[in-house]
């Protein structure tokens, strides 16, 4: 990338960059818009046609997506699932208490054996 200075005056160059830059940004995002508005549904439709079952006819396949099922409904369902899964694990009270455990005597842990071992 070498700088291409068309004019020596930076302000003129600035205006050129301003206009071309804005145009390119708009063009880029318009291109994306157009693709996702029209290109994507067509792609998905073609995909549906290609992967259709043998018994299905092409005309049965509708390019329209279900209009009633909105993002809000999807969000509500996912929140509900999330909350439900959260409740799977009951909440601990988060209070730790240390209780004296009753120690069982065992000769394996007894000090008395090691203390008197030398005398044996």
């Amino acid at each position: 990338m070498t700088p291409i200075l068309l004019y020596t005056d930076p302000l003129v160059e600035g205006y050129i960059i301003l206009i071309t830059g804005l145009l390119i940004v708009f063009a880029g995002l318009i291109l994306l818009t157009v693709f996702f508005k029209y290109g994507m549904p067509i792609m998905l439709y073609i995909y549906k046609v290609i992967t259709r079952g043998r018994d299905k006819k092409v005309k049965d396949i509708s390019p329209k997506v279900n209009q009633d099922f909105t993002g809000e409904i999807a969000a509500a369902i996912s929140v509900a699932i999330h909350l439900y899964l959260d409740e799977q694990h009951d909440e601990e009270n988060a209070i730790l208490t240390i209780k004296q455990a009753r120690k069982l005597y065992s000769p394996w842990s007894s000090k008395i054996y090691s203390a008197y071992r030398n005398r044996l």
């Binding site: 990338m1 700088p3 291409i4 200075l5 930076p10 302000l11 160059e13 600035g14 205006y15 960059i17 301003l18 071309t20 830059g21 804005l22 390119i24 940004v25 708009f26 063009a27 880029g28 995002l29 318009i30 291109l31 994306l32 818009t33 157009v34 693709f35 996702f36 508005k37 290109g39 994507m40 792609m43 998905l44 995909y47 997506v65 279900n66 209009q67 099922f69 909105t70 993002g71 809000e72 409904i73 999807a74 969000a75």
Partner: protein, 445 residues
């Protein structure tokens, strides 16, 4: 138990005694000072040694003092440390992007501790630890990693459901180009102005990326002058205005929209299938980088991160990218960008102008988004109409500006939830500002 206590006491007394014995020479008592049988000549030499020893110790302390911050502090350091504390305060008290402001605030303090130059301490001294960490900023390594994380945490579905909102993200980029022009008028040269302009993109990583390429203090212009190093001021301006979005945007929103427009309810976005979500990053990656290849590191990583999230097979990678990785990079980036504001480099007229231009660019970008949304409404009918408030989310600042839009919408109508709609221009703004950065880079890089 009592045995243990007495043992402890004995050890404590013994410890104190031994400490006293070790300290004694330091306090100036020679070991035989109490010895009365020593001849006078010996005691004389002893006293001479004593004196010089104390003097040397004092000299040492004096020398040490010259190395301390107290001796080297200048008003600039104090001002910058105060600014750092204000950043931390804003982050904690008002919750303005604390994940950014607290590391940056801490970094500002770190970078402005006064020190004696030449001991590999400061961020601009070659070989210092901070300098090594700063390398990732100077070379533009951290911003793409941040973008990877952003991609892995962003849900583009509201944008896919309503692609026309993409245009709002483009409209807000007028802030970038207007600021660029403003910087030129204020006398900055072209690359510097380009880097300053991107503050209007309201995107910290993009701003750092572009300034590290254009205004890094290394590049040489055609006429032989070296560009200034403006990474610090630009990054600080971008991040602080991003954090101040909840302060800057609402007045402009109120000014440019009528009550009736703020009440517009948009129809809920349609549900987006997983297939569409998977196709989006691939197609968007190809389209945007073909248009603006210079933005490849940013857009490539952004959409790669999103693909990790949406592919459904790489949840582990996506999880790392959006949590651990982005956290690590944010910590290092925040601290080093903060530390790069070393007073002698930072407190200049240029920085003040950059801050002025930065504020202006946010205002222009917000206004651009709002006005374009109103313009779009001229062509839209019925429930297709968009609430112009969401235009303000076209400045990226993800997700803060979308939240601000939501809050303003709630103020007008407590049952109008705009957050989901506002996320669309918000993420489009990220794409738009990265494209804009790529364009500026290809013109001026």
């Amino acid at each position: 138990m009592t045995k243990q206590k007495t043992m402890k006491k004995v050890i404590l007394i013994f410890g104190i005694l031994s400490l006293l014995i070790f300290i004694k020479p330091l306090l100036g008592f020679s070991s035989n000072a109490t010895n009365t049988t020593v001849s006078t000549s010996v005691s004389q030499t002893e006293s001479i040694v004593e004196k010089t020893f104390v003097d040397e110790a004092l000299d040492g302390i004096g020398e040490f003092y010259h190395f301390t911050g107290f001796a080297n502090a200048q008003s600039g350091h104090i001002i910058m440390i105060l600014i750092g504390i204000i950043f931390i305060y804003l982050g904690i008290k008002f919750d303005y992007e604390p994940l950014l402001l607290i590391p940056i605030g801490a970094g500002v303090m770190l970078g402005n501790i006064p020190f004696v130059a030449g001991y590999q301490t400061g961020i601009y001294e070659e070989g210092s630890v901070l300098n090594y960490l700063y390398f990732g900023v100077v070379k533009g390594i951290y911003p793409p990693l941040i973008f990877l994380g952003i991609g892995a945490m962003t849900d583009f579905s509201s944008l896919i459901a309503n692609p026309k909102l993409m245009l709002l993200g483009a409209a807000a980029q007028i802030g970038v180009f207007a600021t660029f022009l403003g910087a030129l008028y204020l006398g900055f040269n072209l690359p510097e102005a380009g880097a300053i302009g991107i503050i209007g993109g309201a995107d910290g990583p993009t701003a750092i990326f572009l300034s590290s390429k254009l205004a890094n203090g290394i590049n040489v212009l055609a006429d032989g002058t070296t560009v200034k190093n403006l990474i610090g001021p630009i990054a600080i301006a971008a991040y602080s205005y991003m954090a101040l979005v909840p302060v800057i945007q609402p007045p402009i929103m109120k000014l440019l929209t009528s009550k009736k427009e703020r009440l517009i309810r948009m129809k809920p976005p349609r549900a987006v299938s997983q297939k569409e979500k998977m196709i989006f990053p691939i197609v968007a990656l190809l389209l945007t980088t073909f248009i603006s290849p210079s933005a490849l590191p940013l857009l490539g990583m952004l959409f790669f991160g999103n693909l990790l999230k949406e592919s459904g097979r790489t949840e582990r990678l996506a999880e790392t990218a959006r949590t651990k990785l982005i956290d690590i990079v944010t910590i290092i980036l925040g601290v080093t960008v903060g530390a790069s504001t070393q007073a002698d480099v930072f407190i200049t007229k240029d920085s003040m102008m950059i801050f002025g231009l930065g504020a202006l660019s946010f205002v222009i970008a917000t206004a651009g988004g709002l006005l374009f949304a109103k313009f779009m409404n001229l062509f839209l009918k019925g429930d297709d109409k968009i609430n112009p408030l969401i235009g303000a989310a076209g400045v990226s600042a993800v997700p803060d500006s979308a939240r601000v839009v939501h809050a303003e919408g709630i103020k007008a109508d407590p049952h109008n939830y705009l957050l989901m709609h506002a996320m669309a221009p918000n993420v489009a703004g990220v794409i738009g500002s990265a494209i804009a950065a790529g364009i500026i880079l290809s013109f001026l890089g």
